[in-house]
């Protein structure tokens, strides 16, 4: 019974989370121009409840990696991600953030997922705003399904702690 209540409660919480994503735009490159377009009047990301960019990682729960991540940038990205509170989600915006795209060289990282776990990858160089909105909807589904990277990890840790507690008893 208790389990049912907590899972329903989590469903409700996730419903709230998915429509009030506070994003941290980690804008590095060309994709930033399209990111502006997504935020601007025509495409208006506000319709999806994710219009509010928080420039402090501690206040945001969606990390938008917008643009190429280089080796020099890697530590900064990792640190931003680590500072975000759980549960958190990551969108790789554009091919550079997803795989490195056509930058395969000594300084461009082959995808931001070399440094942080990514929940949704958006292809395109840069992606069209419609694609970004689509990705946002995919992420919202994922949040509701409770299988974002961070949610799964929290769940795993909870199970581990419970098992450990049971062992200690």
């Amino acid at each position: 019974m208790l389990e049912l209540v907590t899972s329903k409660l989590e469903d409700a919480a996730n419903w709230g989370r998915k429509f009030s994503l506070f994003s941290y735009p980690f804008v590095t490159a060309c994709c930033g121009m399209e990111f502006m377009s997504v935020a601007a009047p025509k495409y208006d990301i506000a319709r999806f409840g994710a219009e509010f960019p928080r420039f402090s990682p501690r206040q945001s729960d969606l990390l938008m990696i917008v643009g190429t991540i280089t080796e020099k940038q890697g530590p900064a990205l990792r640190r931003v991600w680590e500072q975000m509170a759980e549960p958190k989600w990551v969108i790789a915006f554009g091919v550079c953030a997803s795989t490195g795209g056509f930058y395969q060289n000594y300084h461009a990282m082959p995808g931001a997922d070399q440094v942080v776990p990514v929940d949704v990858y958006i292809p395109g160089c840069p992606p069209r705003p419609e694609q970004v909105l689509d990705a946002l909807i995919l992420l919202q589904d994922r949040i509701q399904r409770k299988d974002g990277h961070s949610q799964l990890r929290l769940k795993r840790e909870k199970i581990v702690m419970r098992e450990r507690a049971a062992l200690e008893d």
Binding site: K72, N105, Y106, H107, M109, D113, Q114, V115, P117
Partner: protein, 184 residues
């Protein structure tokens, strides 16, 4: 385009100008390494030259230089095939005159063993970052540069990536996801 600047340079410095070139109208002078500062100072201060603005500084690595000819197409190339023994790098500075509107490219040839050349930053402050970039990418040491350190890359980076013998995809990661390390 006229070769006015080159002629003046040759008349003034004679032997210190190793070679000149004006392909596609770009006036270029190869100068002796130890005369670079002197020639550059003259180019800046002489009234008829008045090269007051820096444009860019870079370097050409000749290691793989083997030009090929194309049938029915004339070539303006003046650079002979690299033999593996001569100076490997050509350090270039491009200058512009705001008053006379002419431009010149100065080049100095340096070897791989001694990639050192006088810095022109004390003459044109605008070369500051340009020379740092050239150092970062090619490992050219600029003598007299006030702040010669890597600019694009990080200090942990080993080697000079734009040299022809640096493999394009040789990454030197600073950080990787702990849960992925050793995965591949």
């Amino acid at each position: 385009m006229s070769k006015k600047v080159l002629d003046a340079l040759k008349a003034k410095f004679g032997d210190a100008i190793e070679a000149t070139d004006d392909q596609h109208g770009d006036e270029t002078a190869f100068v002796k390494r130890d005369k670079l500062r002197e020639i550059a100072t003259w180019l800046r201060d002489d009234k008829a030259m008045a090269f007051d603005a820096p444009v860019f500084a870079t370097c050409v690595d000749l290691l793989d230089w083997r030009p090929v000819s194309i049938p029915h197409t004339p070539s303006t190339n003046t650079r002979p095939e690299y033999d593996g023994a001569g100076p490997r790098f050509e350090v270039c500075w491009q200058l512009r005159s705001t008053t006379h509107r002419h431009r010149i490219r100065i080049k100095v040839r340096v070897t791989e063993a001694d990639p050192k050349v006088a810095s022109l930053t004390p003459l044109w402050i605008g070369f500051d970052w340009q020379e740092r970039e050239t150092f970062d990418m090619y490992g050219i040491r600029f003598d007299g540069h006030p702040d010669l350190r890597r600019i694009y890359l990080y200090d942990e980076f080993v080697g000079y990536p734009l040299r022809k013998d640096y493999p394009k995809e040789k990454r030197q990661p600073l950080v990787r996801r702990p849960d992925l390390v050793g995965d591949h």
